[in-house]
Amino acid sequence: MASGIKDKVVILGMGCSKFGERWDANAQDLMVEAFEEALRDAGIERRQIDAAWLGTAIEEQHVGKSAVPLAMTLRLPYIPVTRVENYCATGTEALRGAVYAVASGAADVALALGVEKLKDTGYGGLPQRSRGALNDLFWPNLSAPGSFAQLAAAYRAKHGANRDDLKRAMAHISVKSHANASRNPKAHLRNAITEEDVLKAPMIAEPLGLYDCCGVSDGSACAIVTTPDIARGLGKRDLVAVKALQLAVSNGEEVSFDRWDGSYFATTRVAAARAYREAGITRPREQVSLVDVHDCFSVTELVTMEDLQLSAEGTAIRDVLDGFYDADGQVPCQIDGGLKCFGHPIGASGLRMVYEMYLQLIGRAGDRQRPAPVWGMTHNLGGFPSQNVSSVTIVGQYGA
């Protein structure tokens, strides 16, 4: 049995660019913005970084292939740099590479940077491209909202949920995220909205309306990680450690085997169970202080609350409407605005979530600061409900 990642690696510094429609910035500008903040926060120099990981998903839209764009932009001195891509969980993959490098002893200090520049397509929403020569011949003609909207139909059928209750819970999720983002200066969408706004918005993919969908944004986020000893040696106190780092990837069971009912993420359930075990969490609903999940669409957030064992199966609608996940609720969800409002520059999102948990744990979250959080959890997802990549990351006070 592997000993796991718990407390082997700590965050030395983090940075995050302003997310949004960054008409002013190239991907390279966004990378520098996140990197400069992280480097200052870490209190080290560029030459102290032993290895780096670049996460970017739709590279043809901006920087192109390989890790070269990161090395060139940051002027990294001929160190090993790796580029990773795993759908919308790409940012977490970059972090996983850096954390594992430090944990293995191969690197003392490692960098993970995620970036995406999406607003150069000429239209709203994510760019649509070939999905592979064979897939293009039989995959349905789907958009991201269309594929996640499937959850709503299946969830309703499974739990006998009322159409209006589900739609209201989804609306509550978006209203909450907008309210949270209004207190986040780096967020893309900072306007407050009402439940009525959500319910009246134009339909994108039934039952998802415009406000059920996350922002498509430009942005970058960055983490510098090291060992607890090195961090202390650099004068760091109140260390934030990685407690769990889990990933589960679909193998075709959901889409081709007759067991899955379409209402949940089989991957998230597996990754969450493994992450809780790795971190030593036994009662997540009571123990997790804060969570940032992959709320690409409101319904994704809703079913994910059950997949992460925060709500019992079939009870997420009630918990959401009761305010359990609001900023002043028991487990605040998307305290920074989430994908919905902080924005979703694909390669950066997984690192952006960890950035918020890091700020909360060291008490630097400003107006959004929650009192004395202990465990921060992030959930980063990519693909489609029927075949996807799902990651669960837990960070917390070192030694806790």
């Binding site: 011949l137 003609n141 299946a154």
Partner: protein, 479 residues
């Protein structure tokens, strides 16, 4: 007559959408007020994802039903609107139908007599032959053809058994009488004056062919019980019958008010309609007009014809369409602004299509010999996590399976020629599931649990290279 040679089975297909002629006349009345006189009834129009090939597949499926397809020796696809000039269209149909590769396939084309010609050849031959005729003729906006044509398909299985009908004889007059024509690079037909077509064409060439046929067969025109003659000219069928001595009561409705003229398919469609309603022993005369005339004299046999959907079922399964502009955009008559999402490159790798042709064109998946799991797509390892056996699967054909909707959405973001795009997970009866596009959806009845059947349709088009991709979609299973 158990070992007689003749028509053993038949089938038909009409697209569900029926364009209301009133709407066409109203839109064009400012320019062509004369269309008002043609504005009664409706005509069948292909959906954006249908063409001659997909309609042919549906008619063939209706014809073949549960019959053993391994006996087929020949398949002919007759049409004046084959999608491909080079790439045999009949072979695409054969692949979608899972017919064995040891099969003589051919396209019959170039005339409205393509369908009757192929049927005569099959009936005068000895081989088990599937004759399918389908047409989707384009017409200019505001033309009479636009009003009078219809889209549809019919299929006839010819072979040895207990025929639904057998051939008494056939005769063809080939005369270069050009009542209309369409050259290769044109989308619509150019026609001459109707009075000339009637007087010099229908009223002379059809009686000449019919007369010669009846004389050779020794059958009196008065003995004909059903007379099938396509044609859009007013009352031309009755006038021809009278000239031939065929009783007025034998003249069949050419389905102008409900379908329109389906071109090369129409004589076969009318014959199929007769075979649904005729009695054993009835004498049927079918004529196909165009650069002369094909005439077939048939006698209805004891073969049963009551289990299929046929023309009667296809006529009943209809949806009224009044959006003329939508139809014009489907046929490419109007060039809509389709947005940047329509710009995605749809290049097809022929190597990939060929390796996976059974999966893509035939909807073939796998069934594991070890654990019995039915699955799509078929991959090297079985998907059952308790099995995962290597190379353990036999072919499993999903196309004739029904299923139920497990999840769905109406996607308004992704590009579709007819938004929103409906797609979702289908749980197939008997095992297996697939995430697939839906078509022919009635939005009000769409929900989890809805019964569906599989239909062969256009998936998308590649305008840059002039290619069309086909795949299977789920359509609501209607009675």
């Amino acid at each position: 007559m158990a070992n007689d040679f003749g028509i053993l089975s038949f089938g038909a297909y009409l697209p569900r959408a029926r364009m209301q002629r009133k709407a066409v006349a109203a839109a064009n009345g400012w320019f062509a007020p004369g269309l008002k006189g043609l504005s009664r009834g409706e005509r069948a129009i292909a959906n954006w994802d249908e063409d001659t090939i997909t309609m042919a597949v549906e008619a063939a499926r209706d014809c073949l039903g549960e019959l053993d397809r391994a006996d087929l020796r020949q398949l002919v696809l007759a049409s004046t609107t084959h999608p491909f000039d080079d790439r045999q269209n009949a072979t695409v149909v054969a692949t979608a139908l899972h017919l064995p590769s040891a099969l003589r396939t051919s396209d019959a084309a170039g005339s409205l007599r393509a369908g009757t010609g192929a049927l005569i050849a099959a009936l005068e031959g000895r081989e088990t032959t599937l004759v399918v005729a389908a047409d989707q003729r384009r017409a200019k906006a505001g033309s009479t053809q636009e009003m009078q044509y219809g889209d549809g398909a019919a299929a006839m299985l010819v072979g040895t058994g207990t025929p639904v009908a057998r051939l008494l004889g056939a005769h063809t007059e080939s005369v270069d009488f050009v009542h209309q024509y369409r050259m290769h690079d044109r989308n619509s037909d150019y026609g001459w004056e109707e009075r000339w077509i009637r007087d010099e064409g229908y009223l002379k060439l059809v009686p000449r062919a019919v007369g010669a046929l009846l004389k050779r067969c020794g059958v009196d025109a008065a003995a004909i019980v059903h007379f099938c003659l396509p044609g859009t000219l007013s009352k031309v069928q009755a006038a021809v019958a009278k000239r031939c001595g065929i009783p007025e009561t034998a003249v069949r409705d050419p389905l102008g008010a409900s379908v329109g003229d389906t071109g090369a398919a129409h004589p076969l469609l009318m014959l199929a309609h007769v075979l649904e309603q005729s009695a054993p022993g009835d004498t049927v005369l079918v004529a196909g007009f165009g650069e002369g005339c094909d005439a077939l004299l048939l006698q209805v046999g004891d073969g049963r014809a009551d289990t299929r959907r046929g023309v009667t079922g296809a006529l009943a399964d209809r949806r009224e369409e009044s959006n003329y502009l939508r139809w014009l955009s489907f046929t490419g008559t109007v060039d809509l602004e389709r947005g940047m999402r329509a710009e995605v490159d749809k290049a097809t790798a022929m190597t990939v299509l060929y390796r996976n042709r059974d999966m893509i064109e035939g909807l073939v998946g796998g069934r594991c010999r070890r654990c019995g799991t039915v699955q799509f797509p078929r991959q090297r390892y079985c998907v059952n996590p308790e099995c995962n056996a290597l190379d353990s699967q036999d072919d499993y054909v999903f196309s004739e399976r029904t299923g139920r909707v497990l999840s769905y959405t109406a996607d308004g973001l992704t590009y579709s020629p007819d938004p929103p795009t409906y797609f979702g997970m289908v749980q197939v009866d008997g095992g297996g599931r697939m995430l697939m596009d839906f078509t022919e959806v009635d939005p009000a009845s769409m929900d989890v649990g809805l019964p569906v059947r599989m239909v062969f349709r256009i998936k998308d088009a590649d305008p840059n290279r002039g290619f069309v991709r086909y795949f299977w979609k789920a359509a609501p299973a209607r009675a």
